[in-house]
């Protein structure tokens, strides 16, 4: 049987075959080569990923008072393509969010599908915007760092940026512990774009760990109050105070003035954020004589009755003339420290020899970091002995030609107060996560001088407060030891020590308190008076009184 097809039939047949082939090729292309693209497109339409934020950990003081916390908040955004009337929308935002209408209009007219209107708005603001039912406007849930105590210990706690990453202080130093890890949940979307949690795929978020500090917010409050009062009353430039447990180096308070409110970062100047107690190095002046005292008592070369001629207030040393603030003739070893004679101390240091004195500087770790768990600590300035000038051996023992921070001074006084141990100051005592707390190991304290030597130094420093230059630090009925320091500041313009700029310092300890507490106070450029015994010692006294009643009250 033979059939004859017309050309037309064949051409129609062939065109159908070709069409079918093209369709098959297209299907093959879409199914095989573009498979992933279309699969993702379909999934994007059906599924939504919701971000589950891993909350940043809290920072708490030793009584578990919250110092820093993360709270949820909302950020408002807009899709300009969906906004019909940008003028009205900008007007509404401007009134309710206190924003510039011009900037809003500029943003809303951009050819973008996403613009931030304002990040981290308050609950009230969010409710107001929500009630307006504006088209093309949405909210994103975020986290906001909140510091409930405001200014209190701001420089210690530090700050976190808008993306909740630590920028300063403990927020930066412990960022790895505090940071949470975000999680995700994939949910179905219905036709109205509502989320349906149907067999969701979840990556669980991880909350950041809480950190517990040795800091006591109540003591910190008193310290800041007295520091601010003193700076205002003496019209000083700045100041710092540290309160430390002499036995283990736990920092109970660390204050700086000027301070700042971390909740209002927009108003903060960079210099206000400086943690001066650890980042500022200064020439300590007479307060540094404690190093000479420790070296002298440990070398056991002098008795308390040994006499030193103080040259009636003027002593020619290589390169310069050494002065005393008051002219003295003969002073006993104890009186040299009680009356804070520069000449007497220089002579004691000379008798010890520069090598021996220098070995105590190393033993007390001057020129090294104190080891506090805060970023940006300055390690100080200490010339190696082979670079000392002929003057250095006379003036370093009286606290010149050396740079220290307040913490280094406080830990030196802790050696006297705790029987000869060099402790490491620290702020974080434990880290807690998911209900479990782990103590942060304390660095071993080093025995650097025998207890008998430390006790002798302690007795002399107690007499400095009871009978010497530190009388204004005396707390009635208590054993208070300490040393005043009045340091002239070096003026780089005139290339010599200034006669108008001073630093007043007092560092001391409460010897009969359990545990013994070291308090260091330094006030920069006070105006009405510049003596450590007048400016800084009363701050010590006020803080000591509060600390004694607080610690003994808690003990009872």
């Amino acid at each position: 049987m033979s059939r004859k097809y017309s050309k037309r039939t064949i051409s129609v047949y062939l065109s159908f075959v070709i069409l079918l082939f093209l369709i098959c090729t297209r299907i093959f292309y879409l199914q095989v080569f573009r498979r992933n693209f279309f699969q993702n497109l379909a999934q994007d339409q059906r599924y939504r990923l919701i971000n589950l934020q891993g909350k940043r950990g809290d920072i708490l003081d030793r009584q578990r008072r919250i110092l820093a916390k993360s709270i949820s908040c909302y950020s408002v955004f807009a899709d300009p393509a969906l906004i019909d009337n940008p003028e009205a929308t900008a007007e509404a935002f401007s009134i309710n969010l206190d924003l510039s209408k011009e900037i809003l209009l500029f943003n809303l007219r951009k050819k973008k599908r996403f613009v931030w209107i304002k990040r981290k708005i308050s609950w009230e603001e969010k409710e107001k915007i929500k009630a307006l039912k504006l088209d093309g406007v949405g909210f994103i849930r975020e986290e906001k760092r909140f510091y409930p105590q405001g200014n209190l210990s701001a420089a210690v706690i530090g700050i976190a940026n808008i993306d909740n990453q630590g920028l300063e202080g403990l927020e930066l130093g412990y960022n790895d512990y505090l940071s949470g890890k975000d999680g995700w949940v994939r949910v179905l979307k219905d036709s109205a774009s509502r989320e349906i949690i149907l067999s969701p795929q979840i990556i669980t978020p991880q909350e950041g760990a809480d950190i517990i500090l040795s800091l006591d917010a109540q003591i910190q409050y008193w310290v800041e109050e007295y520091l601010e009062g003193t700076i205002k009353s003496f019209k000083a430039g700045s100041g710092s105070v540290v309160v430390m447990n002499a036995l283990n180096g736990e920092v109970l308070a660390l204050a700086n003035y000027p301070s700042f409110n971390p909740n209002e970062l927009g108003k903060v100047l960079p210099k206000q954020m400086r943690n001066r107690a650890v980042a500022d190095i200064f020439e300590p002046g007479s307060v540094f004589k404690v190093v000479t005292l420790l070296a002298a008592v440990n070398e056991d070369k002098f008795t308390d009755q040994d006499k030193f001629f103080c040259e009636n207030g003027k002593f020619k040393i290589p390169g310069t003339i050494l002065h005393d603030w008051k002219s003295y003739g003969e002073l006993s070893f104890r009186e040299v420290f009680m009356k804070s004679s520069n000449i007497g101390v220089a002579k004691i240091a000379q008798a010890l020899t520069p090598d021996v004195f220098s070995s105590y500087l190393k033993r007390l770790e001057f020129g090294c970091l104190s080891g506090i768990d805060l970023p940006a600590e300055a390690k100080g300035l200490l010339k190696p002995i082979d670079k000392w000038s002929r003057t250095s051996a006379f003036i370093i023992p009286i606290g010149q030609e050396i740079g220290v921070n307040l913490l280094q001074l406080a830990r030196t006084f802790a050696v006297v107060a705790n029987g000869g141990y060099l402790v490491t100051p620290h702020l974080v005592t434990s880290i807690c996560s998911q209900g479990f707390c782990e103590s942060v190991p304390i660095k071993d304290r080093k025995k650097i001088i025998p207890t008998s030597a430390a006790d002798r130094a302690k007795e002399i420093l107690i007499s400095v407060v009871s009978e010497g230059t530190g009388k204004r630090a005396q707390v009635k009925g208590r054993k208070i030891g300490g040393k005043t320091g009045t340091a002239q500041k070096y003026d780089s313009k005139i290339k010599r020590y200034s006669f108008s700029k001073y630093r007043a310092t007092f560092v001391g300890f409460i010897a009969d308190l359990n545990p013994p507490i070291v308090i260091g106070v330094t006030i920069d450029e006070p105006k009405r008076s510049h003596f450590g015994g007048v400016v800084a010692a009363p701050v010590f006294k006020n803080i000591a009184q509060k600390v004694i009643s607080y610690i003994e009250g808690a003990g009872n």
């Binding site: 709270i71 949820s72 609950w123 209190l152 989320e195 349906i196 949690i197 149907l198």
Partner: protein, 121 residues
């Protein structure tokens, strides 16, 4: 049997299919409820956070200390014991029979009766 089977078979097939469908619909209903609860939960957390925020802003340690110094407030020593003479209040028994039954059986008188007394007042 052969005559009944064609009648029963659709029913036998229909019922499991209906049950299956019902389960599917229920799953979606529960999923919607869960989604609503989740967003409500988030909303409550936000409200809690903002209440905490507003409260903490107004009750800082600085403000508490300022208030204490203004009012000359001194905390009582821990050694001083304060005793209050609290008279036992008469119990008011309510009519809730289930609660009364549990009271008798479990002798859990205090919480239930106190709650009932409050209700009564």
């Amino acid at each position: 049997m052969k005559k009944i089977l064609p009648l029963i078979l659709p029913v036998l097939i229909f019922l499991p299919v209906l049950l299956y469908l019902h389960q599917k619909v229920q799953l979606y209903v529960e999923a919607y409820r869960l989604s609503n609860s989740f967003s409500y939960h988030k909303e409550l957390i936000d409200k809690r956070d903002y209440l905490m925020y507003n409260f903490s802003k107004e009750a800082t340690l600085a403000k508490v200390n300022q208030w204490a110094s203004l009012k000359d407030f001194t905390p009582v020593d821990k050694g001083r014991v304060m005793a209050l003479n609290i008279k036992r209040q008469p119990q008011i028994i309510g009519n809730n029979k289930i609660a009364l039954f549990f009271d008798r059986v479990l002798r859990a008188s205090t919480p239930t009766s106190t709650a009932l007394a409050k209700d009564k007042r």
